[in-house]
């Protein structure tokens, strides 16, 4: 077993780990060193470690053994608090249900994992159902009163008329058509290339190679060709088309108009949007907007205008170069 010195050391290490989230919180607030997602992740890790530490203290330091039958609801409630309260912004109910479903399954596994823990878990239940003393009888009566009550409450809840908006299973990235017609020119989405993705030599720039231009200043006198295109794309984004009104200054989908729309505009800074798509997909969405969404994109909820009516093909391609450059993502390719 551990001696006192080792115990103290272990405690210190655990405290340090617990303090980490707090430190990074302060750091995040002051300098923006980490974003909300990373911050929340660190908090989560801290909480899990904290819970383990707490459990360890209760069991080994204080010498209290929590019965298995009680451990299960405690774990369940902790998981619920974690997903419902601590995880911010709030996750939708469907996701919460899935997470809690997994937790239910795993907690059940945890309680029945060895024969001893199964006996410790099921023993009290069996005793409640079978034994003949007053305590067991009373809990039996209580259980069989509460159970129908719960079912009745659930039924009442289900029958209650609801006035909330219906759930939408919206397809965020509907499948694109094989080819589109923009300004009387056929663009085959599988094979088309962005004409403004060019390196210093004027040749097509392989996806991934543009990373050397990330963070570069496109407004100095002598800029590489690629950054010139980026600048012109930026002019379209902030000037000609005014994409930033909806998609935001940081391309995070939080422009001044964004919350007037339902659903709100796409967040390009998220790794799940343009980073997952081919440039031609983005071209299709910009050129054709909401009106050209395919059948599967029901309920066609998109406020995106068909920009081909306002921009030239070249301007659309350039703004796409700008979007990838600004977010630091690479378009999807298959090579």
């Amino acid at each position: 077993m551990f001696n006192i010195r080792k115990k103290t050391m272990l405690t210190q290490v655990l405290f340090l780990l617990l303090a980490l989230p707090v430190v990074s919180w302060a750091g995040g607030g002051a300098t923006g060193f980490i974003d909300a997602g990373t911050f929340a992740l660190v908090i989560e890790v801290g909480l899990v470690l904290g819970a383990i530490f707490l459990g360890w203290i209760v069991k080994h330091k204080m010498g209290i053994t929590i019965p298995k039958l009680l451990q299960a609801p405690i774990l369940y409630i902790l998981a619920y608090i974690n997903f419902r309260v601590i995880l911010q912004p709030p996750i939708p109910f469907s996701l919460l249900a899935m997470y809690m479903g997994v937790c239910t399954l795993v907690i059940l596994c945890y309680c029945t994992i060895t024969t001893e823990s199964w006996e410790a878990f099921s023993g009290p239940i069996a005793s409640m159902l079978r034994d003949d003393h007053t305590k067991a009888k009373m809990s039996r009566y209580a259980t069989f009163l509460i159970l129908p009550g719960l079912i009745a409450a659930q039924t009442y809840n289900t029958m209650l008329p609801k006035f909330g908006e219906p759930i939408e299973l919206r397809t965020v990235h509907p499948a694109p058509p094989a080819s589109i017609n923009v300004h009387k020119k056929l663009v085959t989405l599988q094979t088309a290339e962005n004409p403004f993705r060019v390196g210093d030599d004027g040749e097509y720039l392989k996806v991934g190679d543009e990373s050397k231009y990330f963070g570069g200043n496109s407004w100095t006198g002598d800029v590489p060709r690629f950054l010139q295109e980026v600048r012109e794309g930026g002019v379209v984004f902030f000037g000609t088309a005014g994409c930033f009104f909806c998609h935001g200054d940081n391309l995070d989908g939080r422009g001044p108009f964004s919350f007037a729309f339902n659903p709100i505009p796409a967040n390009f800074a998220d790794p799940g949007t343009i980073a997952q798509l081919q440039e031609t997909f983005v071209f299709w969405r910009v050129a054709k907007g909401g009106p050209d969404l395919s059948r599967e994109a029901f309920p066609w909820a998109s406020a995106m205008p068909p920009w081909e009516k306002h921009l030239t093909t070249n301007e659309i391609w350039k703004v796409i170069v700008f979007e990838y450059w600004h977010t630091g993502f690479f378009p999807r390719t298959w090579g």
Partner: protein, 644 residues
């Protein structure tokens, strides 16, 4: 052994089989003749046929380069018109009828193809075992499974008949077109079934006759098993070519005219990955079903001896299932990659678009599979004295599994009310949104598999004390091997967010190899360490907790449910096409089903399959009841082994 009389019979059977084999070549001969005939006819007509007519040059839909052009040898795909080209039963969805009959046939088909694979391995292990007692144990296990397969074989044939009639009755236009292109393949397919049945019966009924432990007859018997499996796989590949053609047609021109080269029609872009994925899936499914059978008998048997036998059998079956389950996700990723490369549209429909939620269903099932496997191993360790020292590790392994599962399940497209959307501030959640992409999924599944391997290593050690002098070195190395694998998998997962998608896909390779390293090197080192180890006490076979047996049931049901879901997914990704981009589905049922409906039909399919399978299991237990009298007869040594 065979008597002289049997020899004649055997020669007769061989002649019959070879005649069937010759019959198989007939369609080829017919093909050649027709091709020659066409050439002659083309030579006679000096004038070039008009474009699109039979004999003219046609551009292949898929192939490029030297294979781009072919000779038009068939009519274009017919335009489907409702109701003329379709049959129906009133307003009921014809598609659902076809769906159910197809799924049932596929279940039983994979069962009768998978069990011989399983049986082959078992028989091989039995024959190569030095300890003849253990060898006989494996041999009996194989024989028992083959008996079940035999009953299931006739069910498969019946269901195949039902499927064909459903096709002819409800989708005559489509089936006609498919048959016109695949006619030689279809005939060989049907004729191969005769051969398969012949080999199967020789294999099964010759079991006792050819059973001389590990002598020459046994190896001949194993050779027959090999042929049986080869035919089975060829059959499956042939059936796969049809769905491959429906998804990614090749060897035809834009309007569906056959271009004369049957190989191009077979070898479509998605054919090879589909075949690999299905073979692996079949083998895993076989293990799962055999495991469920063993669990069923384990729960229903009364004596400890029987319980011990089925406990052991369930372990072997589970092991075989898992061995094939582990490479399955990787084969799946490969298939997905090929689908994306074939049509981006199809890939997006599957992964990010219309059908993305079906993938979440599948993810749930895969996670269930891995958690169940670990749970089963934990339960199985309960019957191994000395495993107590590993109990504290269980909860941590479970914790790793649950964290992986949660990130594995997080969907990319969330289901939410508009109010929830506003509260969240966008379609993607800033925290959990990160787990909706491929980088996170790859990391999660690899972590889960590595954890399963670790659990298995603990299982191997459970009732043993290691005595090799380098034990501390081995332990040290194993800890590092697993820890570093996790570090690398996690590192690559995070790194994946910062690089282009085409490189990111490549990252899955070192991730997979990390996982496989723990599997092969880890298990090998572990096994090596166990050499000459002391047993705490022998495994108490038959004393596994009932929870373990139920876990095996869950495992098998999860397998079948996954098959149903993924089959639905693979089929419905064609959307409103019978044959992708060539033949449009113009029936009123060409829409994509709501998730709930698809889920219900799949559940019903699973239920139906298991009901029928339990009937088959029950039948076999009826036959087994006769067994005791046979055993006593054998023990008396008066009756020769060949009792059939």
């Amino acid at each position: 052994m065979f008597s002289v009389n049997n020899k004649k019979k055997k020669i007769g059977a061989l002649i019959l089989l070879s005649m069937i084999g010759m019959l198989l070549l007939l369609p080829f001969a017919q093909m050649d003749v027709s091709a020659q005939g066409k050439e002659e006819a083309a030579a006679e007509e000096s004038a070039e046929p008009a474009e699109g007519e039979i004999g003219s040059k046609g551009k292949d839909k898929q192939y490029g380069g030297v294979n781009e052009f072919g000779i038009v040898s068939g009519p274009p795909a017919p335009e489907m018109v409702y109701p003329d080209s379709y049959g129906s039963y009133g307003d009921y969805q014809s598609r659902t009828l076809l769906w159910v009959s197809n799924q049932q046939h596929l279940y039983f088909g994979s069962f009768v193809l998978a069990v011989p694979m399983f049986v082959f391995v078992m028989e091989l292990i039995g024959a190569t075992q030095k300890d003849r007692k253990v060898g006989k144990k494996f041999d009996d296990l194989a024989h028992e499974m083959m008996k079940i397969s035999l009953t299931a074989y006739s069910v498969t044939a019946i269901l195949g008949g039902i499927l064909i009639f459903t096709f002819l009755a409800l989708y005559p236009g489509f089936f006609g077109y498919l048959a016109s292109i695949f006619k030689p393949v279809m005939h060989i397919y049907a004729l191969l079934f005769i051969l398969e049945s012949g080999v199967l019966y020789v294999y099964y009924y010759g079991w006792d006759a050819m059973n001389d432990g590990n002598g020459n007859w046994k190896w001949t018997h194993l050779g027959i098993s090999c042929i049986l499996n080869a035919i089975g796989i060829v059959l499956m590949v042939m059936a796969n070519t049809w769905i491959g053609f429906m998804m990614s047609p090749a060897g035809v021109d834009e309007s569906g005219r056959f271009l004369g080269d049957i190989w191009k029609v077979i070898h479509t872009p998605l054919m090879v990955p589909i075949v690999i994925h299905r073979i692996l899936g079949n083998a895993a499914f076989g293990g799962g079903v055999v495991g469920a059978y063993a669990a069923f008998r384990f729960l229903s048997s009364k004596t400890l001896e029987e319980k011990a036998h089925y406990d052991w059998m369930s372990y072997i079956a589970m092991f075989m299932g898992i061995l094939n389950l582990i490479p399955l996700p990787f084969a799946g990723y490969w298939l997905m990659r090929e689908i994306y490369a074939y049509r981006q549209q199809m890939g997006i429909t599957l992964m990010g678009g219309l059908l993305a939620w079906v993938f979440i269903m599948q993810a749930t099932m895969i996670a269930t599979l891995f958690i169940t496997v670990n749970y089963y191993l934990f339960q199985a360790m309960g019957r191994m004295p000395g495993a107590e020292r590993y109990y504290p590790a269980f909860k941590f392994l479970l914790a790793i599994l649950v964290i992986s599962t949660i990130s594995w399940l997080t969907p990319h497209t969330l289901v939410m009310t508009p109010a929830e959307l506003k509260a969240m501030g966008g379609q993607q959640h800033p925290v959990v949104g990160n787990y909706g992409v491929m980088s996170a999924k790859n990391t999660a599944i690899n972590t889960m598999i590595t954890t399963t391997v670790l659990t298995f290593c603990l299982y191997q050690r459970a009732n043993r004390i290691i005595t090799v002098p380098w034990a501390w070195k081995g332990n040290c190395f194993l800890i590092l091997l697993f820890a570093m694998a996790w570090v690398n998998i996690l590192f690559l997962g995070i790194y994946g967010y910062f690089i282009p998608a085409n490189v990111r896909i490549g990252l899955s390779v070192p991730q997979v190899v990390s996982t496989l390293t723990t599997l092969f090197v880890g298990v090998a080192v572990n096994t090596k360490m166990l050499k000459g180890s002391k047993e705490v006490a022998p495994i108490r076979w038959g004393q596994m907790s009932v929870r373990g047996a139920y876990a095996l049931f869950l495992l098998a049901v999860a397998f079948t449910w996954t098959m149903a879901v993924m089959g639905y997914l693979r089929s419905s990704v064609r959307l409103h096409w019978h044959v992708n981009e060539i033949m449009r589905d113009n029936s009123p049922w060409a829409f994509t089903n709501p998730l709930g409906y698809a889920g219900n039909i799949n559940s019903m399919n699973v239920l139906l399959f298991w009901t029928m399978l339990l009937f088959v299991f029950w039948l076999s237990s009826l036959a087994a009841k006769k067994a005791p009298s046979k055993v006593t007869a054998d023990a008396g040594e008066a009756v020769p082994a060949a009792s059939h």
